[in-house]
Symmetry: C3
Subunit: 324 residues, 3 copies
């Protein structure tokens, strides 16, 4: 579809969140279709996890987003989908790859939302594809168990924070979940959640460096908990790390089912977003260093540095591999 | 209502699809109100057909759209509505007629969606009005039967197409039908469908001629099949004909009820859109000729030429009549 | 959240209606949460009244709106919420107070929408707070009874009106109530209604003075009647009074439950909006005087003048009090 002014920031760059929402919608459609392709229990595929996603080049207002999706692996109860996004300037005809994302879906029964339906197996062209898929499946399963641990954190407001401290840029928004945010099952689309997360992360990044910022990448996101229609969700973000030219922001989503449910507010999702700051010519700008004050902030900064160096190393390894 | 940036293209011209959506909403309201005006079975009017619609002058961001609707004929089971759209520049006070559209609605029972309710007859000021309405009713009925034939066509992707061929500009998008797209009966508003069709046709036209394009007219559209909430719809468009200064694009809408329904993907609507290319000053520009390759493409080009010449002749006849 | 192009007029000023909608959403969330905080009947808070609200400074595209809400009084069946809106330019860090609004909500049972649930009492820091809240509660109760009287008025179209007469600028729009406009109970959010009212009032003001206009204030609004999903609402506005630099516009909302309900069209809400006209530099401009023709128009002009002088006197008294 054509990118509109509301999809983009003032500089005309389409929000990473808008792109994530399109990716998730494509993934939900293809996996729901696959899971209903054999006469079985009708079901809707719910997003369980998005793998780390890089934004390779910016998309602008007026460009057309081409989204293509393919199922690359099925386990008994989950579907792996690969989604590619290309931006196309329909006036010049120029096309660029914007994103390649991998998503995991789990089919939930339309009749009983707590029941996971069985996934019809796909056919692989080569045996190695199945083996590689299985490896990816096992890896993400492990990773999902790990991240379940650090979910208890809360972001508290800070009075009169100094510039470039964590408290200075931290932000949150609330959103009342309406019908157009939800699937047929009455739960929030993963893509809607990611769009809100990107919005908060973008505000944190802009508050920190006071320039035009764009989403560079999103770390793997696990959707542990569904969010029901009528909930209020609070999306909070704080900066955890800065390198010379990038910022890492941690975003939490808390759901509060305050009507008609005997349930406490709970953490539904959390993730790390990386932003870069761009000059008017679209060149990356230096980023002011994050000032850490508390022990927790220093620890998170070091952890962020670890993730940054790990990603950098991985990318260099891939480039070397590609150069061979 | 006031036209917003999201309603328009980058040049500030409001999308024909946005206008069609407003027209259809007005038509649905007036005909639903009429069909419920007598104590009978509660019902919702569903769009059955839109007659050929010309876009007489462009509408811009910041202008106010004035939409007025009137019931001009009722048969036992259908309602003809005439909708006029005026654009008003509220700063200068200038008003222009943008569209005159004729729509046919059929009232479906709220209790049983497959039951068509009886329409209360309207009063005519003159007997001729009823006779003319009856003639229009018979004509559209005939036309609807005819178009049911050519519905089986599919648009296939082309690898590395040459510029200005059919394969070069053909486009498609998918859309997941959400609650805000639907009527009280849970079926997609005709206006929502037409807006998506115009979006795809506009992408096809822009890909072909790489300039600012606007909708000039839409041929009669028949809504043979309802589309239910939760379906995925695929909207595909391909160019069929070019004259010196206009392009004709054929658009198909296919619905895929992939969840909770034992039904195959089916063709819901198809239609022809005509676009013109505009210079920065708003003058019509020459259009590159469409290169036809296959026999089918050549045949469709000739058919398009036939429609083009027929419309041109009809318009000249009307102008002569008006001049007398 | 970040203000987008669709939230604003062509000059980049965010519509008062967009701000009112955010205020109401925040109020609905905090009061619904409060009313469900004790194990009782699940309920949804419905907007009963908004006190007079001034727009203290304009908000622009790209700024972040910070909305904070606090419960300031509870009676047995109603909740008073104070909502503050700050605009923040995230690039410069500048913050300004945009609005302070007071809203009254009534909790309606989720099981039986006609039943008002009991409100859990809040704790007051000081006894005076409770007394002052009770005084405000009694005042608004009185005022709500009063305004119930003048609800019968209808706005009729005028043929070829003279510039600057009432008939010249009067406007109306219709809107079909969809699912995303509604609460969990299936009734229109008060904020959605206020946004439409502001849209019509803004068109009336722009038609009158042909310049960039912004909402300056909204008089107290009482929501006497709920509006159900599937209704058509007609929002009509007419100018009642002009001072040198401001315009007062009366707005009516009529609901027409034309499907599946044995009920006549009824007046749901009415309110007075005040607009000012701004130059390109953001300075208030003189406003052309309203030409009154009929006795009713002259009477309404005098009543508007009374409200204008009363507000002016009240503001001067507050400024003197603040200066002491």
């Amino acid at each position: 579809r054509i990118m509109r002014p509301d999809d983009a920031n003032i500089a005309g760059n389409v929000h990473g969140g808008t792109i994530l929402k399109m990716i998730e919608e494509a993934g939900a459609i293809i996996s729901t279709r696959h899971c209903n392709s054999q006469a079985g229990e009708p079901c809707v595929a719910a997003l369980a996890r998005v793998e780390r996603t890089d934004f390779l080049s910016p998309m602008c207002i007026g460009e057309v987003a081409n989204v293509s999706a393919e199922i690359t692996y099925t386990s008994r109860h989950s579907v792996e989908v690969q989604v590619n996004v290309m931006s196309e300037n329909i006036l010049t005809g120029a096309k660029k790859v914007t994103n390649k994302a991998t998503l995991w879906y789990v089919p939930l029964s339309l009749k009983n939302v707590n029941k996971v339906v069985e996934v019809p197996p796909i056919q692989y062209a080569r045996k190695e594809q199945e083996d590689e898929g299985k490896k990816r499946y096992e890896e993400q399963k492990l990773d999902r168990l790990e991240t379940k641990q650090r979910n208890g954190d809360v972001i508290l407001p800070v009075i009169n924070p100094e510039p470039h401290t964590v408290g200075y840029s931290q932000s949150s928004l609330i959103h009342l979940v309406g019908p157009s945010d939800c699937t047929l099952l009455g739960f929030v689309h993963g893509g809607v959640t990611m769009k809100l997360m990107d919005e908060v992360a973008g505000i944190v990044a802009a508050r920190h460096c006071k320039t035009n910022i764009v989403t560079a990448s999103v770390d793997a996101i696990n959707f542990h908990e569904k969010i029901k229609k009528g909930c209020v969700i609070t999306v909070s973000g704080r900066m955890t790390f800065t390198s010379n030219k990038s910022m890492e922001i941690e975003v939490f989503v808390d759901a509060d089912p305050f009507v008609d449910e005997p349930r406490e507010r709970y953490r539904a999702v959390s993730a790390f977003f990386t932003y870069v700051s761009l000059s008017k010519e679209g060149k990356p700008l230096p980023v002011p260093q994050l000032l850490t004050e508390t022990e927790d902030e220093k620890r998170r900064f070091e952890e962020g540095k670890g993730r940054y160096l790990q990603t950098k190393a991985k990318r260099q390894a891939q480039m070397q591999q590609a150069a061979q």
